[in-house]
Each structure stands twice: as C-alpha cells, then as structure tokens.
Amino acid sequence: MIRKVVKDAKEAIVGIENAMTCMFGGFGLSGIPENSIQAIRDNGVKNLTCISNNAGVDDFGLGLLLQTRQIKKMISSYVGENDLFEKLMLSGELEVELVPQGTLAERCRAAGAGIPAFFTPAGYGTEVAEGKEVRWFNGKPHILENAFEADFAFVKAWKGDEAGNLIFKGTARNFNPLMAMAGKITVAEVEELLPAGSLDPNQIHTPGIFVQRIFEGVNYEKRIENRTVRPKA
C-alpha cells in the first residue's frame, strides 16, 4: 500500500506557496473541501489563482479566502451570491476569468488525462471565444480549449480509503473527481476514512492513483445555500 494518509488539513497543505494555482471541488457550497479551505486561510499563503466552479458565499467556502485577500485570480463559471466578490472584482483587486461550466469541467479532466487541448462548441461567437482557434466539425463551429494546470487540487469525498480511493455522495460529486485527476498534488478530505479493502473496487469514483494525500476531515458544516422544501403532507 502506497502511504498517503496525513493527520489533518494542516499537514495536507504542506508545500503550498504564494502564487500557486489551486483547484477546489464543489458546486455552490455542496461538496467543497471545508477543512482544506480553513487550513489555507490559517496558513495565510497569498496571491493564489483558484479554479473553482463558484466562489463560495461571503462567509463560507472560498469566500473565506476572499475575506483575507489570499486570492489574486478566480477562474469560475458562476460567481453570483457573493457581495464581497463583486466588490473586489469591480475595484480591480480580484482578477476573474469566466469559463463555461462544461468547458471548466472538461479542462480539468483533460489536464488529468494528458489531453492538452480539445474542441468544444461552447462559447463560439461569444466573449469566451476571443483569441481562440475556431474550427468547423460536422457543420458546426467549435473552439479550441486548453487543459488547466494546477499545483494543488483540493477535493472532498464522502468515503475514502487508505489507498486514496474516493466515493462521493449525491450531487456533491460534481467537479471533485475531475479536479482530483488534475492536481500535481491532490489532497482529498473525506467524511469517513477507511482501511484499504473496505470499499468495493467496482464502486470507486476516483481511483487512488490520483490522490497524493488523504485525511478524515472534522466538523463538517455542509451548509445549504438555497433550502427549498415541500410542506409535510
């Protein structure tokens, strides 16, 4: 068994440096690496470029690293629901690159899978296509998109084992498996860390080869951003 288990988030982020590029899994506040984000805030590392579908809310998720001005640039598909973000962006304190969500996902996967570039129809004819190569396939225009690069990828899983295998739950899966593939160092925090052999090898979402460090997270808040319910019958 290749050793990957670390004690906690603090140990998991060792080696993070100013101006690095980091990926963060999650969609909205669902499936975000809460412990790793806290540890990065405590560490104080600065000028990060963060690749994440969203930017959290004012006081949770990546919003915490915006509060402390640790983020220089965000690469995201949707950054609403965050007033501080908007303020920092409009004042020029924060660089922002907006990427179509499917392209964001595919650029993460491509990075992990050794595909340096691919064609997609998304964004053709829009601001997103500016400066990008256009080519027609099957009578439809496509643009060329490049794989991302990331020094660290921080992901959150439901269950993990000591071999680094991960299983996600529900829609908290989202970008996590793709970013896990893409990080030079991938840090996985899990709600439950189990001995190797505890998980059915047929059910692994992220094989351990993609995960360099794994730990069992603590005090998960798992905040709900938009609670919608039906009344009890």
């Binding site: 669902s30 609403g80 499917g102 997609t120 225009p141 739950k169 829609t171």
Partner: protein
C-alpha cells in the same frame, strides 16, 4: 390577458414529448416540471450531476449533498443517477439531452441569446448556459416579452454580450409563442386576450405573422 410565469411554464410543458430528457434553467423554466402532460414520460437532468431529479424534499429531509443547478435542495426519483460534471456536460454537448429551457435577457431574430452578463452592472457568469445553448438542438426560451422598463426583449440584434449564436428555436413569453425562422420571429400563438397588434408593439425584432396564428390553449 398576458400570461403569468405559471402560464408560460404551462405552455412550455406542452412542448415536451414522451421519452425526452430535459434540462430546465433557473427561474420560470424550473416551474415547467410541475405541468408535464399526463401520459408522457420525461426525465429531468440538472447539470450539476443528476438525472431523474424529483420535487423539492419534504421539510426536514433536506440533504446538503443533493441540490440542483440553482443550488436548491431536491430529491432523486427511482431510477436516478448521479455523476460528475464532465459526464454531465458530456450528456449536454453530446446532445443526449433533448430539450433545454432557459431564461433570457434578450433574444435576437436570428436566434442569438444573451443571458449572462450586463457589462458594468452584473457579472455573475455564464454557468452552464453557454454549453447548453451551443449543444442542444432544441432550445426554448421562457421569458417576459418586455423588460421592467417596458422595452422589448425580442430584438433585431442583441445589445448585451451573447451567450450563444443562432441557437434559440422557440420563444414563449407572457404574450406569445414564436418560432425562430430564417425570416425572423414567426408568430405562432398569442396569449388569451392578446392581439397580434399587442405582440407587434412589444417586439422590436422582425415579426412574421402568417395566416394561422392561434390562441394558446393552456
């Protein structure tokens, strides 16, 4: 009388065909799920990673690990599947999703759509909208015919940054149902009590009115 949002959703629901996989955007489109005609089977995809999306959960059963693309808590129906975002957009780009219903700020008569950015004012991002409109064969826009200032949202040309080129097929508004054709917005139906003239007055882009305009049945 002009339709309300529910009316727009009801009318769009009539476009669903048996066996469709459908992606519904945030806002009016989300309401469409409530009005699927009896006897046809539809499955809803949400681009954050679920197929077989069900209604909102009963109070007290919300799960933070189970949300839709609007970040609302949801449920999963029997036969549902969860997947990652790359597979989700594989379904979308690969045209496995048969119909997409989206809101819009502007639609142009050539089918261009703008719904993601107001320069200097609102920059929330495109989310999955650019992937959706660039991919699906069947894009329906659900929106009010005019904005709050009373200006037409059906234009000769979009004034806002566009989300996609020549992609919208049909627009359903509070006033009318219109198809995007090579000639422009072709009026198909008017809301009950709305005249062709009302639609013409509210439409800045080129409006084509044939002989067979009928009143919506909703």
């Amino acid at each position: 009388m002009a339709l309300d949002k529910t009316g727009i959703a009801r009318r769009i629901a009539q476009e669903m065909k048996d066996g469709f996989y459908v992606n519904l955007g945030i806002g009016i489109p989300t309401l469409v799920a409530n009005y699927i005609p009896e006897g046809i089977s539809i499955e809803f995809q949400s681009e954050n990673g679920i197929l077989g999306m069900g209604p909102f959960p009963i109070e007290g059963t919300e799960d933070p690990d189970l949300i839709n693309a609007g970040k609302q808590t949801i449920t999963a129906l029997p036969g549902a599947a969860f997947f990652d975002s790359a597979m989700s957009f594989g379904m979308i780009r690969g045209q496995h999703v048969h119909m997409t219903v989206l809101g819009a700020m502007e639609v142009a008569q050539n089918g261009d759509i703008a719904n993601w950015k107001i320069p200097g004012k609102m920059v929330k991002g495109m989310g999955g909208a650019m992937d959706l409109v660039a991919s699906a064969d069947n894009i329906i826009v659900a929106m009010m015919h005019t904005n709050r200032a009373g200006e037409s949202k059906l234009l000769t040309k979009c004034t806002l940054p566009i989300t996609g080129v020549s992609c919208v097929r049909k627009v359903v508004t509070d006033l009318a149902v219109l198809d995007i054709t090579p000639q422009g917005f072709e009026l198909r139906e008017v809301a009950p009590g709305i005249s062709v003239e009302d639609v013409r007055n509210a439409t800045e882009g080129k409006l084509i009115v044939g002989d067979n305009v009928r009143e919506m049945e909703i």
